[in-house]
């Protein structure tokens, strides 16, 4: 058995070391990652994937800690992927989400992994999807993904999660009414955390009226919940709504299939695009044609788009 096969076997048995090694592989080693995902893919699709997004300081990590405790109380196995940003200047990252979750550390049926975005855009890491698959295949019933503290356009989470929870807290300086497209549109559930603070009621009303304006005839109407993550207030209701949403997806086969189809198509296109791009560019660099054209562009003899077209024509011609 190869090392990858061994790790795959370990994942399916729920072995924590194998899970950890596997996530490292999907983060780093393209070749081995492909083999690994191929092995475990047939065993995925069981877990309910929950995405948690929202501005930094809204209380996502604290909320997750309470959610995990509740899921554990009802006997569910849980995986958590917590994403933090990579510095575009140094390439390093400070991964501190675990601080709020360390009480869960010794529970064998909880697995927490911190990931850096490694400059992938959209609020999660490129490998987050596969890390979630690893946790899914290892037998977790619930996988929670905490995105980078998000602004408006960190919406990649919808490609990964089945239920997306947007967390807001009053007093963070962003007026709900100023929030435009993006993050408001992706929520299956809204949470106003730190609901004991001033401004919470206004936030709830603002979100609700925003929803009334936007969501004409959608089959699922996102509820707006209040929580106080520090005390655990509102957590039961949140878990309940997440479960309701899951049931809605299960029950509404059309909706569920449509969502899955969109996700799958998007992922397939991206996988193809990446491979085609990489292989074409590698080939062009190898032949020296790439550098030739860079030089021409710098000399203003051609422009980038025309150059790309020429290169592609040549590359595709050579393929046949």
């Amino acid at each position: 058995m190869t090392k990858t096969e061994e790790i795959a076997k370990g994942i399916l048995a729920g072995n924590r070391r194998s899970i950890a090694k596997a996530i490292t592989i999907v983060e780093n080693d393209d070749q081995e990652a492909q083999k690994l995902v191929k092995e475990i893919y047939p065993h995925t699709g069981r877990a309910h994937i929950i995405g948690l997004t929202g501005a930094g300081g809204a209380g996502k990590s604290t909320l997750i800690e309470k959610m995990v405790k509740e899921y554990r109380r009802i006997g569910k196995k849980v995986g958590v992927v917590a994403v933090d940003p990579t510095s575009p200047f140094t390439g390093g990252a400070f991964l501190g989400d675990r601080i709020r979750m360390q009480e869960l550390c010794m529970d064998k049926d909880v697995f927490i992994r911190s990931m850096a975005t490694r400059n992938y855009a959209g609020g999660i890491a490129k490998a987050t999807k596969d890390a979630v698959r690893v946790l899914d295949a290892s037998g977790k019933d619930i996988v929670i993904v905490e995105t980078v503290g998000a602004g408006q356009s960190e919406v990649e989470i919808i490609r990964v999660a089945q239920t997306t929870v947007v967390v807001h807290a009053p007093g963070l300086g962003d007026d709900i009414q100023a929030i435009k497209a993006g993050i408001m549109e992706i929520a299956d559930i809204f949470v106003v955390n730190k609901a004991d603070r001033e401004g919470a009621d206004k936030a709830v009303i603002d979100i609700q009226s925003n929803l009334q304006l936007n969501n004409k005839e959608k089959p699922w109407r996102p509820p707006v919940l209040r929580t106080v993550a520090l005390t655990g207030e509102g957590i039961l209701e949140l878990i309940g709504q997440i479960e309701q949403h899951r049931c809605f997806l299960e029950g509404n086969v059309e909706c569920k299939t449509a969502l899955l189809r969109t996700k799958t198509e998007t992922e397939l296109v991206e996988a193809i695009r990446e491979r085609v791009t990489n292989s074409v560019i590698e080939e062009l660099k190898r032949k020296g044609e790439f550098d030739e054209l860079v030089h021409e562009i710098m000399e203003r003899q051609t422009d980038p788009t025309s150059a790309a077209r020429r290169l592609l024509k040549r590359a595709l011609k050579n393929e046949t």
């Binding site: 070391r17 950890a20 390093g92 400070f94 675990r98 601080i99 550390c105 927490i112």
Partner: protein
């Protein structure tokens, strides 16, 4: 594995220290040197540290301790890492650790002790030069 792989570091505070200024300074310095640094906060038990290192599949662990309990806690941590088959992880320590205890700690497998006043550049260089590429 191969060059270009990010170095993942766990900065951990075993025991009952009441502040983590030093640990955070080291964590930030390593981050600015391009590493991915997991910091788990105050009051970690040896078990929590070992389990976190396992789940996060770290290459390096930096133990920060001010309370003087290093002679009790460090052996437990190193033992747990051994049980978990993680002896290839580089472990260094810092904080308030008397000179005369250093030899004993190194015998446990702790590679280096970086006392108060150590330039962060020294720690960074040490990690970069001594990190073994894990297979």
């Amino acid at each position: 594995m191969h060059k270009g792989k990010k170095i993942r570091v766990l900065i951990a505070k075993p025991g009952l220290d009441s502040h983590d200024r030093g640990a955070k300074i080291v964590a930030r310095a390593l981050r600015d040197a391009g590493m991915e640094v997991i910091y788990t906060g105050l009051r970690q038990t040896p078990e929590q540290i070992a389990e976190t290192a396992l789940q996060e599949d770290v290459d390096v662990i930096g133990l920060s301790i001010l309370s003087g309990a290093h002679k009790t806690l460090f052996p437990r941590i190193m033992r747990l890492l051994e049980d978990q088959d993680m002896t290839d992880v580089m472990v260094f320590a810092g904080g308030i650790i008397p000179e005369e205890d250093i030899a004993e700690l190194k015998k446990l497998g702790i590679r280096e002790i970086f006392g108060p006043g150590t330039p962060t550049e020294t720690i960074i260089q040490y990690v970069l030069e001594n990190i073994s590429k894990k297979s």
